[in-house]
C-alpha cells in the first residue's frame, strides 16, 4: 500500500493512498465541518461545507484524495467566510423555522449555524412553496426543511438497497422524490425501514406524530377511563 506525504495545516503528514482529505483530517483530530457527509455512505460533495484550500484552490475535502505535494489548509478567513455563507444560503433557500421544527435541538443545520457564528441571514429568504407529504403510515417529509444533502437517497440505495429516493428537478425546483415522484405512501419500493429518517440531518424526514399539528391527545382513552370509573363499564 502506497503512502502519500503532504502538508495538512502546516504539518507534514502521511496517509494511505486513496484516502480522502476529510478522512485524514478526522484521523488527525482536525475538525472540518460537514453536512452531506455521513459515515458509511458514498460521498457526493453536495453541501460544500468541507471546502479546504489545496495549494490555494478550493476543494471539497470529502471527495479529494490525498496526493504528494499537496499543501492543505482547513482553516482560513476565506474558508470561514465561505462556510458561513453556505449555511446562510441554506437557511435562505427553504423555510427553516427552527422554533417550530420537529428537529429543533437535534438538527445538524442548526448546530452548524451555531458553530460557524451565523447570528442572522444576510440573504433575502426565497420562501418557496414546499409540500409536506404525510401519505406514509410511519414517516413524513417536509420539503421546507430539506437541504438536498441526498443522505436519504444514498442510504436507501447503498445500505437498504431499495433506491426509493431520488432527486427530481433542477436548481430551486429540485426536490427529493419517492419512486416516480409519487406520494411516499404509494411508493411500492419503500420497505418502511426508516433509514432515511435516521440519516436526515434536519427535520425534513421525521417520524409521524412528532410534529406540533399531529399532536394526538387520545381523548378516547380519557373518556373510557371516566366511563369505567363512573359506570363500572370498560370500553377498552
Amino acid at each position: 500500500m502506497a503512502v502519500k506525504t503532504f502538508v495538512l495545516d502546516g504539518q507534514f503528514i502521511s496517509a494511505r493512498e486513496g484516502q480522502t482529505l476529510l478522512e485524514v483530517a478526522r484521523e488527525s483530530g482536525v475538525r472540518v465541518p460537514t453536512l452531506c457527509h455521513l459515515d458509511g455512505l458514498g460521498e457526493v460533495g453536495a453541501c460544500r461545507l468541507c471546502l479546504v484550500e489545496v495549494n490555494g484552490r478550493l476543494m471539497p475535502a470529502c471527495l479529494t484524495r490525498v496526493a504528494e505535494e499537496m499543501d492543505v489548509r482547513t482553516q482560513s478567513d476565506r474558508l470561514r467566510r465561505y462556510r458561513k455563507q453556505i449555511v446562510e444560503l441554506l437557511f435562505a433557500e427553504r423555510n427553516h423555522v427552527c422554533s417550530v421544527c420537529v428537529a429543533n435541538g437535534d438538527c445538524e443545520l442548526q448546530d452548524l449555524a451555531m458553530q460557524l457564528g451565523v447570528d442572522h441571514v444576510r440573504y433575502p429568504p426565497q420562501e418557496p412553496e414546499c409540500a409536506v407529504d404525510l401519505s406514509h403510515d410511519r414517516y413524513g417529509i417536509d420539503h421546507n426543511r430539506c437541504v438536498l444533502c441526498t443522505r436519504c437517497v444514498r442510504v436507501c440505495d447503498e445500505i437498504e438497497g431499495a433506491h426509493t429516493w431520488d432527486v427530481a428537478g433542477r436548481g430551486t425546483n429540485a426536490r427529493v422524490i419517492t419512486d416516480l415522484n409519487q406520494p411516499w405512501g404509494d411508493a411500492s419500493t419503500c420497505t418502511s425501514c426508516g433509514k432515511c429518517v435516521m440519516a436526515c440531518p434536519t427535520g425534513a424526514l421525521f417520524h409521524r406524530g412528532s410534529s406540533v399539528s399531529e399532536s394526538a391527545h387520545d381523548r378516547e382513552t380519557l373518556h373510557a377511563l371516566i366511563v369505567a370509573r363512573e359506570e363500572k363499564r370498560w370500553l377498552v
Partner: protein, 202 residues
C-alpha cells in the same frame, strides 16, 4: 453620571422575548441602577423618546405601524439589538409569507378558515395594514447586534446587555446561541460593569 437610556420594543412577535427579559430576575434590580427603561411594553411611555442608548427590538416587521416604528427606533437609538428569532429571521411571524401577500393571508384568516366566515378588515379600520411580506428587522434598518433564540434565555439577554453596556465587541456568537433555542452564556456570572465604564451619550 446619568443612567443609560434603555428601551425595549415589541413588533410582530409573541412577547415571549419580553417574558424572557423578566427572567433576568434579580439582575433587573442591578440593571435599574445603571439603566433607565425609557420605553417598553413594561412601562408607561406612549411615544418613543429621542436619545435612547440601547434598544432591544422583539418581533418581525409585519405591518405599516411596525415599519414606521422601527424607522423611528433606528433614528432615535444608538445601539439597536435584534432581540429573538422573529426580529432576527422572521421566524413564526414570517411563515405567512409563503401564501404570497397580505390579501391571501387575510382571506385565509377571516374567510376561508373562519367559522362563520367574517369580513376582511377595511383599509381604514383601526388595525394597521399588513405588509405583503414579513421581514426581519435588518431588512429595514441597520442592526448593531443580533441576539437569536426563541426566546433568548434570561441569562443570555443579561450577557448581551452587559456586552453592550460595557462597550464590548459587537459579537455574541462566542456564547452558546442558536436559532430556535434559548441559548446560554459561555460562562456564568458576568461581572456587572460599573456605571462609569458604560458608554456615554453620543
Amino acid at each position: 453620571m446619568a443612567r443609560l437610556r434603555l428601551a425595549t420594543v415589541w413588533l410582530g412577535g409573541c412577547s415571549g422575548c419580553h417574558m424572557s427579559f423578566l427572567d433576568m430576575d434579580e439582575f433587573l434590580i442591578e440593571l435599574a441602577d445603571i439603566a433607565e427603561i425609557v420605553f417598553s411594553p413594561l412601562v408607561d411611555a406612549k411615544a418613543y423618546p429621542a436619545g435612547v442608548d440601547v434598544v432591544l427590538v422583539e418581533g418581525a416587521v409585519c405591518n405599516v405601524d411596525h415599519l414606521e416604528m422601527i424607522r423611528r427606533v433606528r433614528r432615535d437609538s444608538r445601539t439597536l439589538i435584534s432581540f429573538g428569532d422573529c426580529a432576527v429571521t422572521g421566524n413564526v411571524s414570517a411563515i405567512r409569507n409563503v401564501l404570497g401577500g397580505a390579501l391571501p393571508v387575510l382571506e385565509r384568516s377571516y374567510v376561508e378558515r373562519s367559522d362563520p366566515p367574517g369580513a376582511i378588515p377595511a383599509p381604514d379600520d383601526i388595525l394597521p395594514g399588513l405588509l405583503d411580506r414579513v421581514v426581519p428587522v435588518h431588512a429595514v434598518v441597520d442592526v448593531d447586534l443580533f441576539l437569536p433564540g426563541c426566546p433568548p434565555s434570561g441569562p443570555m439577554i443579561r450577557a448581551a446587555l452587559e456586552t453592550v453596556l460595557a462597550g464590548g465587541r459587537i459579537d455574541l456568537m462566542e456564547h452558546h446561541l442558536s436559532f430556535g433555542r434559548p441559548g446560554r452564556p459561555c460562562r456564568a456570572g458576568h461581572a456587572v460593569p460599573a456605571p462609569g465604564s458604560a458608554p456615554s451619550h453620543s
